[in-house]
Amino acid sequence: MITIIRNPDGSIKTWSEFSDNAAALLPGESLETVNTTFNEYSRRFTLSCAGHSGETLRFPCASGDLTVEVRCPGESTASLEINGVVETLPLIDGQAALLLSTEVPGTFVLKPADTARYCPAGQAILVIEVV
């Protein structure tokens, strides 16, 4: 059993391995319990690149295209927000690959677009800096 905290707008703020206390809520936030494991819930939506997730990655400029792996088990599509722009990817066996160019220096911030369904935290945010 895990707990989920939602923001006042319904988006998921976080999920916790141990039960959260209602006293931990900020005004407008709400608490839910879900009968699953922390790891299982964490794998609902993950983004990774070069085998890494949950941490910021840096690649040199002009080092070739980067492949971001999107995993969303059991789904046929996944909507990503990439630097504020929403892109929907078709999934095969719950997975898709997204290519990012390193031709121009900058930062890619990738996260789920539907934040009421998938929490933009944990391994569902991926930041890649091209330097």
Binding site: E17, L26, G54, T56, I125, V127
Partner: protein
């Protein structure tokens, strides 16, 4: 310095005053002059060792016995040593949340001792406080052993478990310790099961440069406000930078 001062007395040899006084000095002062040494009884009056208190279900306490390191304490000048684990009786905690002090209790006719708890650290000829714990009104936590034998850091009074984090967000965790923790550790993991390297979180990165610490406490809650940079708002370290991942907060009181 000669030790011991006293010597064997042969059969039939009259015991001189010097024999008695040397023997007394050995017993009280380890053979030293009274001006140079505290009497043994005073020196050991505050002795206590191997008194590691642990949790015993439900809402009880146990002082575990070890034949190699038996629990021992001096109370009211009496040298007491447990011959088996000493358990606190059931039902000793009730009422409102409070810090309870754990006492070793001496009774006449016994060379061992029992346990009791009280909200005041009573110290007299029959009772010595040996630790503390926190009663939140329903459960025990933060058990502290003042004379424990366990080396290293005691178990934390609060463990948040892993929870997902993201940059520019405030997380409130209810530690329920009843006081601001004396120590804490915020760990960051890039994987949900905490495998791989856990990085100690000291600061997060601020958008546009710089960094700030993230954690605050009051007597009830811990507050973690991640910093604003998407690239390092959750952890900004030479070991890892991240604006997401997972936190685990450990607190000691």
């Amino acid at each position: 310095m000669t030790y011991p001062l006293s010597s064997d007395v042969s059969a039939g040899q009259p015991t001189a005053a010097a024999h008695y006084n040397n023997l007394r000095r050995d017993a009280l002062y380890f053979g030293q002059a009274p001006a140079d040494s505290k009497p043994a009884g005073e020196f050991f009056a505050r002795y206590a060792a191997n008194l590691t208190v642990s949790y015993l279900a439900t809402n009880r306490l146990r002082l575990a016995y070890s034949a190699y390191n038996p629990p021992a304490i001096v109370i009211g000048g009496c040298l007491l040593q447990a011959a088996a684990s000493v358990d606190l009786a059931a039902g000793c905690f009730s009422g409102a949340a409070a810090t309870y002090y754990i006492h070793a209790i001496r009774a006449a006719g016994s060379t061992s001792f029992t346990l009791s708890v009280n909200t005041t650290p009573t110290d007299n000829d029959t009772s010595r406080p040996i630790g503390s714990c926190y009663w939140d009104g329903a459960n025990l936590s933060s058990i502290q052993s003042w004379y424990g034998s366990s080396p290293g850091l005691p178990a934390p009074g609060y463990d948040s478990g892993w929870f997902a984090c993201a940059y520019n967000t405030t997380y409130t965790r209810v530690h329920g310790l009843g006081a601001v923790p004396k120590n804490h550790m915020l760990l960051h993991s890039a994987s949900s099961d905490g495998s791989g390297e856990n990085v100690l979180v000291l600061v997060g990165a601020t958008t546009g440069g710089g960094c700030k610490s993230l954690v605050g406490f009051d007597a009830s809650n811990a507050y973690i406000t991640t910093d604003t940079a998407s690239s390092g708002g959750c952890v900004y370290s030479r070991r890892r930078e991240s604006g997401a991942g997972y936190y685990r907060l450990l607190c000691w009181i």
